[in-house]
């Protein structure tokens, strides 16, 4: 349908402005991270990588980066197989109350992050009281919290790939003499592979960038990168932070593009 020219022009202007506004902060932070001066001025006072060196020199960022990587990897390794199993069970109708399960899987979007973090923290405190062992400041506690984050994403990404899977391919395999486990290993699993790869990458990203769940659960000396950034922010704002932010944007953005090659994210996320 075509529109009269003036209203169409206005319309394009609004849309363009919206997109520009969305991109501006990200571009700005990248620009700041390579400028020599703290305050941006014209003409630019020269480019530098000093802020990146500075960020790496500060122990909290370097360590935060390492423990974020560690936690994200472990959460992915535990969460993705569990979530995949759940997705399979849902797709095969083995779970009663499919609707309830689907609603539950929206929980990472529904339950505010701070609320979930608080709830987990309180839950851990009670659990510590009962089992008489540390949870809150341990790596296990943190990983367990992040696993909860990765499962719903995994279920949704894997479910999307299962939905496209032709059930009759499994029947064909059985018809050709394959036992149930062989069917799963030789036919079902390979057909789910794109979804599983996407789930791994995506779970990693979600865990890596999470602030709210980690905030109360990190222990001394095991601060994740987002928490380290927040702590740093409380004292000062300088281009060091822009450098850290840029590294994260590039890392996560790169992983997203990689994931997108396996599953069209815009369709399933």
């Amino acid at each position: 349908m075509s529109m009269p020219a003036p209203s169409r022009l206005l319309f394009h202007a609004v849309v363009a402005a919206a997109f520009a506004l969305m991109l501006a902060p990200v571009v700005m932070v990248m620009v700041i991270s390579v400028f020599r001066q703290e305050i941006v001025s014209f003409p630019p006072p020269g480019l530098t990588l000093d802020w990146y060196v500075n960020a790496w020199d500060r122990q909290e960022f370097a360590r935060g980066f390492v423990s974020s990587l560690q936690v994200a990897l472990m959460a992915t390794l535990i969460g993705v197989p569990t979530g995949t199993a759940a997705a399979y069970a849902i797709a095969r109708g083995w779970l009663p109350g499919k609707g309830a399960v689907n609603t539950l899987l929206l929980s990472p979007l529904a339950v505010p992050g701070v609320v979930a973090g608080t709830a987990l923290y309180m839950f851990y405190l009670r659990a510590e009281f009962w089992i008489d062992a540390d949870i809150t400041a341990t790596l296990h506690g943190l990983v367990a919290a992040h696993v909860l984050l990765t499962i719903p994403w995994t279920v949704r990404l894997v479910s999307a790939s299962l939905a496209q899977l032709d059930r009759s391919a499994e029947e064909a395999a059985a018809n050709l003499g394959a036992r149930p486990f062989t069917v799963f290993r030789r036919v079902t699993l390979p057909m789910m592979r794109p979804g599983i790869v996407a789930a791994c990458l995506f779970s990693f990203i979600q865990s890596f960038e999470n602030l709210e769940l980690s905030l109360l659960l990190v222990g001394p000396g095991r601060t994740t990168l987002p928490v380290a950034m927040l702590s740093y922010l409380e004292f000062r704002i300088d281009p060091t932070l822009a450098a850290v932010a840029t590294v994260q944007i590039l890392l996560v953005g790169g992983l997203m593009l990689l994931t997108d090659r396996f599953v069209k994210l815009s369709r399933v996320v």
């Binding site: 032709d166 009759s168 391919a169 029947e171 064909a172 395999a173 059985a174 018809n175 050709l176 003499g177 394959a178 036992r179 149930p180 062989t182 069917v183 030789r186 036919v187 390979p190 057909m191 592979r193």
Partner: protein
Amino acid sequence: MGNLVLEALCKRYGSSTAVERVDLEVKQGEMVALLGPSGCGKTTTLRMVAGFIPPSEGRILIGGQDVTRRPAHARDTGMVFQSYALFPHMTVGQNVAFGLEMRKVGRAERDGRVMEALRLVRLDHLADRLPRQLSGGQQQRVALARALVVNPAVFLLDEPLSNLDAKLRGEVRMEIRALQQRLGLTTLIVTHDQEEALTMADRLVVMERGRVRQVGTAEELYENPTDPFVAGFVGRCNLIEGRLEAPGGFRAASGALLHCDVEAAEARPDAALLALRPERIGLQPDAEGGGRVAAVTYLGAQTEYLVEQDGTSLLIIRPTPTLADPLRRLAVGDAVTLSWEAAAARLLPAAT
């Protein structure tokens, strides 16, 4: 290879019945078609034979052995799925080899048999392609090769032509039939297309609402339908309600007295329908019989006439008359006389 026997096979879902007591024997080397509209239970029957659906009652025997309780993977049937169901992550060759692998056939023999099966469907040059790189017709042939390479006791085809376009359908139909006859495969095919069933199968099983309505060769079903559903589903048919009036007449509900066979009438005192094939009715352009043309539709090789006679509408299909024939100039409103052999009018019980 062996025969396939279904004994009183039933499938119920809760209170609804999908398949109701189907008895059938498919003989060694015979091709039988399950024909019927969607929801008639034909696919459910096929899937029970393959082992994907457990029957509620009855038995399934392959080569004399009761396989009713055996899982799908231990049944030795070769099925071709409507969607082809190729393994998308395997090449054509790996797809065809899969069944042999499951049977633990050694590598050398396997490769030989795979190529042989692919040659059978003229695809041996495409063994290294992935299924998505093939056309629909080629995928279909891979599915055939994959099912045939393991020499299954029973060959099952689930609407194998429904995803092909009209032109290809004719070719693949001939190809499947030729393969089946050459290899002497005991075959059960499911289809909703009567032309497909008539051209491919040795015998047809017409199903409706879970029940078998009639079993027979194409000619038996077409010339001697015993059920109004079969008469209307296999070919076109005028079905006229009414009752017998001795001797040799059938009084239509509209009042018209229609000519029919006396002997047949005596054999079927419960007759409630007169079945008359549209191409078995003769047409003369004169006013004697009291018919009136209500519509003429030129269809190229054939012409359809709708004729009103004493309140009954009859469809007549004739080869299009030549230009010299006075019938060629027949138009709406013209008076005509209808005629048919007494034997052409079949008497049927009421529809159930």
